[in-house]
């Protein structure tokens, strides 16, 4: 058994100014295994990976690599690659303007000249061997994200790697694509590659991994065989407490057909990004959800409701009165709030302070020529920093120095401050640790009780099952079904999506 170990990290410690990021962490990777590294945000997963790939230098500890007996020091990602440690990141770090073959070989040829024919032939062989559906001469931009990710993996494999680190490779892929990546991972495993797999999705861990190492607050919690560790236990180890919270949440069954008053109604609404007209209705205090695979058009639908894309047709009524919503400001004036899917692009303004980010939407509604006084703004910000328990040094801290979960809370605060009647939350929990996820879910239900209508979108179907009383199921940019109350189960959702194919 010991002979199978290809990588062992012992007593690794790493400190940053003010934070002990890693404290005596052990990690062992064996030949031909998929080893999941789990932990909440800030648990030290990325730090551990960065130590291993030479981005950071470790303060203490020892790394041994099979074949290279002695205590090795890795100084740069290049050096790590030469030792056989390759990394595939969440964001695809390839060049979209080059061909697939080039992307596999660029940056590591020794020769000054490029041997196109040889490169195309070799990469073609590797792609075929691994069953990756891409052609060597194809421009990378014309491949789907999943295929691009697979090309990145193929590149890593070809560099003769013994240790493959996959840092959240699946976070922007839909289920079918994730399955493709998993097939590839299992294939590599059979070839004896040790894979370190980092992900936020618990289900994925149980689908592919053999072992799980859990970190918490920079310390090792333990290493387990996957089959010996039930999901609930894993979650408990990750957040360090029993998760009673999760079961406490009960959704309230309100729906427009059992007595609610209509808060928002759209008939045959369509926009540039959402070309198929859809009709939609939500009542006061209802939590509904749009579900479907990634790319099924769920975000495009809610963006049309908010007027975020150019609205091309449809009638809209808010609180029973006809309204004209053609741009986000119209929607805001009608009491609609929208927490966007892509926090980094559409949500945060990272150089502005927490306070400025919070009052932004309210300020827009009031108009920029009537600014809130400093005292008013501070009062607003402090209220919500407290209410949502936003962890920030002060209200003046630039938003970019907050963690992802806290940034999300700031955006949420921004919309809550406008006191919306209808709040749309598009992936509010993406990339956020479990503790904060539960807080946000609870908040959603609390708001609904106070009479706010909420549309909730999430890639994690369990989350929607817990919070939504009505699910609208989408497929290929069409609404294919609607589930209510007790009909809402994972099976039903899957079946509705599958049936929608006919």
């Amino acid at each position: 058994m010991q002979n199978d170990v290809i990588l062992s990290m012992r007593k690794i410690s790493k400190a940053f100014p003010g934070v002990q990021a890693l404290q005596d962490v052990d990690f062992t990777l064996r030949k031909g295994e998929i080893h999941a590294l789990m932990g909440e945000n800030g648990a030290g997963k990325s730090t551990l990976i960065k130590v291993l790939t030479g981005v950071y230098e470790k303060d203490a500890g020892r790394i041994d690599l099979a074949g290279v007996r002695e205590d090795i020091v890795i100084k740069s990602p290049q050096e790590a690659q030469e030792l056989g440690i390759s990394t595939v990141y969440q964001e695809i770090t390839l060049c979209p303007n080059l061909t697939v073959a080039e992307n596999m070989y660029i940056g590591r040829e020794k020769d000054t000249l490029v041997h196109w024919k040889q490169m195309v032939r070799q990469s073609g062989g590797i792609l075929e061997n691994l069953g990756i559906p891409a052609r060597p001469k194809q421009q990378l931009a014309s491949c789907s994200l999943a295929v691009q990710q697979m090309v990145a993996i193929a590149r890593a494999i070809d560099m003769d790697c013994k240790v493959l680190i996959l840092d959240e490779p699946t976070s922007s892929l839909d289920e079918k694509e994730v399955a493709m990546i998993f097939d590839l991972m299992r294939d590599l495993k059979a070839r004896g590659v040790g894979i370190l797999f980092v992900t936020h999705f618990l289900e994925q861990v149980y689908k592919v991994s053999d072992r799980i190492t859990v970190l918490r607050n920079g310390e090792l919690v333990g290493e387990y065989k996957t089959e010996d560790l039930p999901q609930v236990e894993l979650v408990a180890r990750m957040i360090g407490k029993k998760l009673d919270d999760l079961s406490v949440i009960h959704r309230k069954e309100i729906s427009y057909d059992n007595g609610g008053t209509t808060a928002y109604e759209a008939a045959d609404l369509s926009s540039d990004a959402c070309p198929n007209p859809f009709s939609f209705r939500i009542s006061k205090g209802e939590v509904n959800g749009f579900t479907g695979l990634l790319g099924s058009g769920r975000s495009e639908c809610v963006r049309a409701i908010f007027g975020a894309d150019k609205v091309s047709s449809g009638k809209v009524a808010v609180q029973g009165k006809p309204a004209r919503i053609h741009k986000p400001k119209d929607a805001m004036k009608n009491g609609i709030g929208y927490l966007p899917e892509d926090r980094k692009v559409d949500g945060i303004i990272d150089d502005l302070s927490v306070r400025e980010n919070i009052i932004l939407a309210l300020q827009v509604m009031r108009g920029f020529f009537k600014p809130y006084s400093r005292a008013e703004a501070e009062a607003f910000a402090d209220e919500y920093i407290k209410a949502l328990d936003i962890k920030t040094a002060s209200a003046d801290t630039p938003l970019k120095s907050l963690s992802g979960g806290n940034q999300q809370k700031v955006i949420l605060a921004r919309w809550l401050l406008t006191h919306p009647q209808y709040l749309i939350l598009d992936e509010p929990t993406r990339g956020i640790d479990i503790g904060t996820k539960v807080e946000i879910q609870k908040l959603v239900l609390k708001l609904a009780q106070e009479g706010v209508s909420i549309t909730f979108i999430s890639s994690e179907i369990e989350e929607m099952l817990r919070t939504c009383s009505r699910l609208i199921v989408m497929r290929d940019r069409n609404i294919v079904g609607e589930l209510r109350g007790s009909e809402i189960t994972q099976d039903n959702v899957m079946q509705t999506i599958a049936k929608g194919a006919e």
């Binding site: 390839l94 303007n97 660029i106 940056g107 559906p133 052609r135 194809q138 789907s144």
Partner: protein
């Protein structure tokens, strides 16, 4: 995104769709040919003679060379607006060197290369290693070079060096592409020495961009610098080389300019950098980097010149008409490029859903 899920072995012989670079190149070449044929049909006369085409090369040899440099810089995602200034400085320095300091052709070529390299070296270092905005650095370079030109000589200066004048008068004659003059003499097609240098530069730059590691690294850096770094490319060094080569080519371009005009003047090559940028863009190089081709740039220069010739031929002799038409055409080209590229991106994700359901291919079950 589903269109790519095919088994690679099954489509070994299928032609790949064009890459963005190839697509834009094709568009440029087609437009140039169409425009030239149009000119031949409508205005005839000079356009029917091969010499017209040769003169386009003769008059623009230096522009072709400095445009090649700009293409390299733009592919790597940068910009270099100092090339016109460098050209002027080289022209003036060489001519003064030849006449007043008893220089030879050889030393003046060395001087030209040296000035170009010096600019490229300094600008490349500032941009790549000290991370200063390329626009600012090369703007400073442009002012500096223009200023130095007048320091070298305020007065216009015509070359009197005998050897150089012989070089300037040298023509490559192509008898079978000549025409018969009114008095019955056959006048052969004539190409200047600069054209040979320009074509050699185009070829070398083509090889550099297509077949060398540095060339491909430049595309990667222009496409996504962050990724390029992760892929193990030395991004700083690649950027540095792009400016170095651009400076060097501006030096060569300056010498070629001198062999064409034979005189140094502080206003030489005014606006050459803008013409070079325009040519690169017309030739399918994207200002955003990562896409471009030097053959396209060659055709870009020719297209730009053809437009100007057509404006002249159609009787609009005032100089501003050329600028106005060039501006309009450049606008049109960029619009066309972005429409075509946007169409491609859109086609990939939307075409499938845009087809009404009943027209879609039924899957057999």
């Amino acid at each position: 995104m589903n269109t790519n899920r095919q088994i690679p072995g099954a489509l070994g012989r299928r032609r790949e769709p064009l890459t963005d670079t190839q697509l834009l190149l094709t568009i440029t070449i087609c437009i140039f040919i169409a425009m030239y044929i149009l000119a031949m049909l409508v205005w005839g006369g000079g356009f029917l003679r091969p010499q017209q085409l040769f003169d386009m090369f003769n008059n623009n040899a230096s522009l072709i060379i400095i445009s090649c440099g700009l293409t390299i810089v733009m592919v790597a995602g940068g910009i270099d607006i100092s090339v016109g200034g460098i050209t002027a400085l080289v022209v003036m320095s060489c001519v003064v060197h030849l006449d007043n300091f008893g220089g030879s052709i050889f030393t003046s070529v060395l001087l030209a290369l040296g000035i170009g390299l010096a600019f490229g070296l300094v600008q490349g270092y500032l941009i790549a290693y000290l991370k200063i905005q390329p626009f600012i650095v090369t703007l400073a370079g442009m002012f500096f070079a223009r200023g130095m030109t007048t320091v070298v000589s305020v007065e216009p200066h015509s070359a009197k060096h005998a050897g150089f004048l012989a070089l300037k008068a040298l023509r490559i004659e192509i008898p079978w592409l000549g025409y018969t003059a009114k008095n019955g003499n056959i006048i052969p097609g004539r190409l200047e020495i600069g054209v040979v240098i320009a074509l050699a530069v185009v070829l070398l730059v083509f090889i550099l961009l297509k077949w060398t590691k540095l060339g491909r690294n430049l595309y990667a850096v222009g496409g996504n610098p962050q990724s390029a770094l992760m892929l193990g490319i030395n991004v700083k060094r690649s950027r540095f080389y792009s400016y170095l080569i651009s400076g060097l080519l501006a030096g060569i371009g300056g010498f070629v300019f001198l062999t064409h005009t034979g005189a140094g003047n502080a206003t030489n090559a005014t606006g050459a950098e803008m013409n070079a940028i325009a040519s690169s863009i017309i030739g399918g190089t994207l200002l955003t980097g990562g896409v471009g081709n030097v053959i396209g740039t060659l055709f870009g220069v020719l297209t730009l010149t053809t437009i100007k010739s057509i404006v002249l031929a159609s009787g609009l002799r005032d100089p501003w008409w050329q600028s106005i038409t060039t501006g309009a055409m450049l606008c049109l080209f960029i619009l066309l490029q972005s429409v075509v590229l946007a169409g491609r991106r859109k086609g990939r994700t939307r075409v499938r859903t845009a087809v009404p359901k009943r027209f879609r291919l039924q899957r057999k079950t």
